[in-house]
């Protein structure tokens, strides 16, 4: 009994809360993978070397949804990270509410030349003269194609300026059933229901999903151009049979990418982030790949969505100066080059991009860079309710593909729902 009592008392006595040492700790967070963290660690160590008494703690959350939860609650509860990775599509939410610091006044003091960035990429994180985050890299949406499959079908490689007709002709020629079981063993292409993969298709088809000011969907999502794009895309797995049945969930199963790695899928839309996964296949298994643009409808201009992320500083960081310095350091030319070499994304600075393209050994960077002039910030970069809009877009594909409803009825219905969402204060 006595021992128990003494134990309790001791425990209480020792419960007196400990204190940290006197080092200034900068906390950063992102949704980056362990591999990416390792890349940044090189730059971070150098930052720490130049700032004695400062330690940088990198505390990533790999799941993006949970990441947002964590960043929002930590900022709102007054315990913000000093810098955090801001996704282009979260800019309106964070910027409109004044949650992130305007970095423009500090840029010159931390040695950041804002004109060194691609203007279209910087624009995603800017509002007028205000810059709310320093971009660390970006990617346009492109089509990867398997050169061997094209060669085997005696097809010329896709031109950067190709149209839907070229795309469909190639996809048909590339789809082959070699085993004779009625199911193709080689697919021309694949359809991904996630909106970010087909947003560029809608633009390059001459349509859009929202009015230019982002307040209405009716008249845009259900316009003849957008309808015909959706019809064309949903026909790929059904009417034309050139793509496997798409995965019915928001999460990816990786089936399409696996087919692509295995050389059984000829054309796949994705971003630069696929390169680190592709590289071993290209180097080890001699997968020969090319990169080309999203096909456009005849008579319309190519426009491709540009996805970017950038380091932002919460307004309430206790270490404003150090935080801005760190954000600048991680997006400086050196750090961008370090990142580019790992292949995850294009550097956000043209000069770095050129230097990197010069040492490119996979032969894809020139074609990636060629997409930049056609880049356009996705809707997520401009409207605050984008997450809700994006969630509704699954219904467009699903209702047409799974329930086989007519395209126009679906788009009109979803557009009406989007109007309500966008009209909400």
């Amino acid at each position: 009994m006595r021992r128990v009592a003494r134990g309790i008392a001791l425990a209480l006595l020792l419960a007196a809360c400990g204190r940290g040492d006197d080092v200034t700790v900068l906390r950063m967070t992102s949704w980056q993978s362990p591999d990416e963290i390792a890349i940044d660690a090189i730059s971070i160590r150098e930052f720490e070397r130049r700032h004695p008494g400062v330690r940088v703690e990198n505390d990533p959350v790999s799941n993006q949804a949970e990441y947002r939860e964590k960043v929002i609650t930590s900022i709102v509860s007054g315990a913000p990270p000093d810098i955090f990775l801001l996704d282009g599509i979260d800019v309106p939410a964070f910027v409109d509410e004044g949650v992130v610091l305007d970095l423009a006044p500090f840029a010159s003091r931390v040695g950041t030349d804002l004109s060194a960035f691609y203007p279209s990429v910087l624009a995603i994180f800017s509002r007028g003269r205000h810059v709310y985050a320093f971009p660390k890299g970006f990617t346009p949406m492109v089509y990867y194609y398997n050169k061997d499959l094209f060669d085997r079908a005696h097809l010329p490689y896709p031109a950067l300026d190709w149209t839907w007709d070229d795309f469909l002709r190639d996809a048909r020629a590339l789809t082959r059933d070699t085993s004779g079981d009625g199911v193709p063993d080689y697919w021309g292409t694949a359809l991904d229901r996630r909106f970010f993969t087909w947003q560029s298709w809608v633009w390059s088809g001459g349509g859009d999903i929202l009015s230019p000011d982002g307040t209405r969907a009716t008249g845009y999502l259900n316009s003849p151009q957008t309808d015909s794009t959706i019809r064309f895309l949903t026909d790929l797995p059904t009417r034309y049979g050139v793509a496997p049945r798409p995965n019915a969930f928001r999460a990816v199963t990786g089936k399409e990418t696996r087919l692509f790695y295995a050389g059984q899928l000829a054309m796949l839309t994705s971003g630069h982030w696929l390169i680190p996964q592709l590289e071993p296949y290209m180097r080890k298994y001699h997968l020969r790949l090319g990169v080309t643009s999203i096909p456009r409808a005849p008579g319309h201009r190519l426009e491709t969505a540009v996805f970017a992320s950038a380091w932002a500083v919460p307004y309430n960081t206790p270490h404003r100066k150090l935080a801005v310095e760190l954000a600048a350091w991680l997006t400086a030319a050196d750090a961008q080059m370090t990142r580019a070499r790992q292949g995850l994304e294009l550097p956000a600075m043209p000069a770095v991009q050129q230097a990197y393209a010069a040492e490119d050994t996979l032969g894809l960077e020139r074609d990636f860079a060629a997409q930049v002039p056609y880049g356009r910030p996705p809707w997520g970069a401009t409207i605050a309710r984008y997450r809700e809009v994006e969630a509704q877009m699954f219904d467009v594909m699903d209702r047409v593909l799974i329930r086989r409803e007519p395209v126009h009825r679906v788009t009109t219905d979803v557009a009406r729902r989007l109007d309500t969402i966008l009209a909400r204060p």
Partner: protein, 551 residues
């Protein structure tokens, strides 16, 4: 152990515990005071920066400082640090040794000086908030946190302590109760001490929050409306303290209302001592959030937006017209249909595994295992089993020359697929409950029935089933409640798809709150779910309180 020795042990423990609590309390008060002082200092520094921006004068211009310090409206001694000397607005020097170099390089609140001459400083920066040019110093007042609310808190805790001691004395007269009694008394003391600590912590936090001028901060940020937490910490904590004090008063009233028998007092004290931890937990982590969600549900509440306007029943109205809400409610209700099926299977399994066979425990464990496995792991494995291209289930179907089914990709089968997983998980748990129920049925009834010539089916129909009724009701209702809260399977396996076929209410709440940042709407839906679960629980109470007839 004799009671005397136990009492000595308890007194020693108490003294040690009191020392620990006193230390921790002092530390809490001090750290709260430092937090508060640093916030007051930061507020004043922000005001100086704001004023200098608006007036175009330097941040350390005496006129700017005077105006900013006057506007702070705090009883604290505020001083401006220039060139290593801290002076108040009227020019008085504050006695504190200030490390100038440190002040100008560290961009954060600092505690400078030592002993009674301690100050907390916040850096004052130049017009564009970059270089540190000076600081605001706040003289620390260690006992400023002792407010009247706190005195009530301490009084309440002392009362609890006295009650516990009364309990000890009563126990001392009854040596027979010995060690157990001491333990009970110790629990009471522990509860009292913890109460003091929690209250001190609360008061300290409230105190620290008081140094934060929310309205001013939001103005500095250019926002026109109310600042972040509209229900502030201090208000919440004062509520908690008040409630606890009220509970103490009730306790005194109960003691005073009649001359209680010592045993009664002792039992009550012991009972509340035992109840206190779980009660506090329940209040803080269940009742509190529930009420908070209720408040939120009447607001348009975006975590990132400073303005959280009251919109009355707006969220509830929207809910009534939201087709996705009704779809998810319907899906949830359909999903709950897995319960009777699972129950039938679980009862079957229990009947089979109720035999005294060799290795039966291993089989029981195997059946129970899924229940204790991580849901995410289960979901991922079943995702693979259900896969239309290489899944195990379709492989078996193909072997049996049956057409393959795209279990998760087809709106007609996706929910059923989830129900299958759910049944697989719940089977073991329900089986264990049924096993316990079966073992509680008196064997004499079966023997009597056998003598009367009842067959196996008749024995099951007329003895087992009726006597299992309370267990069945329990399993059914908890199963349904559990089904209404399904989330992880949906989150990992289908994300509500395809075409909302597996869109269940908790997933909808999650998506609204965290993906769409609509806390108000999510709270309204949570309350709808709460209403359903509440009705189900009431039903369970009613059904369970009926007696089973053994006649």
């Amino acid at each position: 152990m004799t009671t005397r020795r136990a009492t000595i042990a308890l007194v020693i423990a108490l003294v040690l515990a009191a020392a620990g609590w006193a230390l921790c309390a002092a530390r809490t008060l001090a750290s709260a005071e430092y937090a508060r002082a640093s916030r007051v200092a930061a507020g004043a520094a922000a005001r100086i920066a704001d004023l200098s921006r608006r007036t175009g004068r330097a941040p350390l211009d005496p006129a700017v400082d005077r105006e900013a310090l006057a506007a702070a409206r705090t009883p604290d001694t505020l001083a401006i640090v220039r060139d290593g000397v801290a002076r108040t607005a009227d020019g008085r020097a504050v006695r504190a040794s200030i490390d100038r170099a440190r002040l100008l390089t560290e961009d954060r609140a600092l505690v400078l000086g030592s002993g009674a001459r301690r100050v907390v400083t916040a850096p004052v920066k130049d017009a564009d908030d970059w270089n540190i040019v000076g600081a605001v110093a706040v003289v620390v007042r260690p006992f400023a946190a002792l407010t009247s609310v706190m005195l009530v808190a301490v009084a309440t805790a002392l009362l609890a302590l006295v009650l516990a001691l009364v309990g000890v004395r009563q126990l001392a007269r009854r040596p027979a109760r010995g060690a157990r009694g001491v333990l009970v008394a110790a629990m009471g003391v522990l509860a009292a001490g913890t109460t003091v600590l929690v209250m001190l912590q609360g008061a300290g936090l409230a105190h620290a929050a008081a140094g934060l001028d929310l309205a001013h901060e939001s103005r500095l940020l250019g926002a026109s409306t109310l600042a972040f937490p509209s229900l502030g910490w201090s208000a919440l904590l004062e509520w908690i303290v008040t409630l606890l004090a009220a509970a103490a008063v009730l306790g005194i009233a109960w003691l005073a209302s009649a001359r209680r028998r010592p045993a009664e007092v002792r039992e009550t004290v012991a009972a509340w001592g035992f109840l206190a931890p779980s009660l506090a937990h329940l209040l803080v982590f269940s009742v509190g959030p529930l009420l908070f969600a209720f408040i939120i549900s009447f607001h348009r509440w975006d975590l990132l937006q400073r303005a959280k306007p009251f919109i009355g029943l707006g969220n509830y109205r929207e809910m009534a017209h939201d087709p996705l809400f009704w779809t998810s409610m319907r899906n949830t209700a359909l999903y709950a249909l897995n319960v009777p099926v699972t129950m039938a299977l679980a009862l079957g399994a229990a009947l089979i595994l109720d035999q005294p066979l060799r290795g039966i425990r291993i089989i029981r464990t195997v059946v129970f295992l899924p229940y204790v496995v991580s849901y995410v792991a289960i979901a991922i494995v079943w995702q693979w089993i259900f896969n239309a291209d290489y899944g195990l289930l379709d492989y078996l179907l193909r072997l049996a020359h049956l057409p393959p089914v795209d279990w998760l990709g087809n709106p007609a089968t996706a929910l059923i697929a989830l129900m299958i997983v759910s049944a697989w998980v719940q089977l073991g748990y329900q089986m264990v409950i049924f096993l316990a129920g079966l073992q509680g049925i008196p064997q004499s009834l079966y023997e009597a029935a056998r003598l009367d010539g009842a067959g196996a089916w008749q024995r099951f129909r007329h003895i087992t089933l009726p006597l299992l009724r309370p267990v069945s009701v329990y399993v059914f209702i908890t199963g349904v409640i559990w089904s209404f809260q399904v989330f992880t399977l949906v989150y990992v396996m289908t994300e509500g798809g395809p075409v909302h076929a597996t869109d269940v209410i908790v997933y909808r709440i999650y998506q609204s709150a965290w993906e769409f940042r609509r806390m108000g709407y999510a709270s309204a839906m949570s309350w709808a779910l709460f209403a359903v679960l509440f009705v189900l629980t009431l039903l369970q109470w009613r059904l369970l309180s009926r007696k089973v007839d053994y006649a």
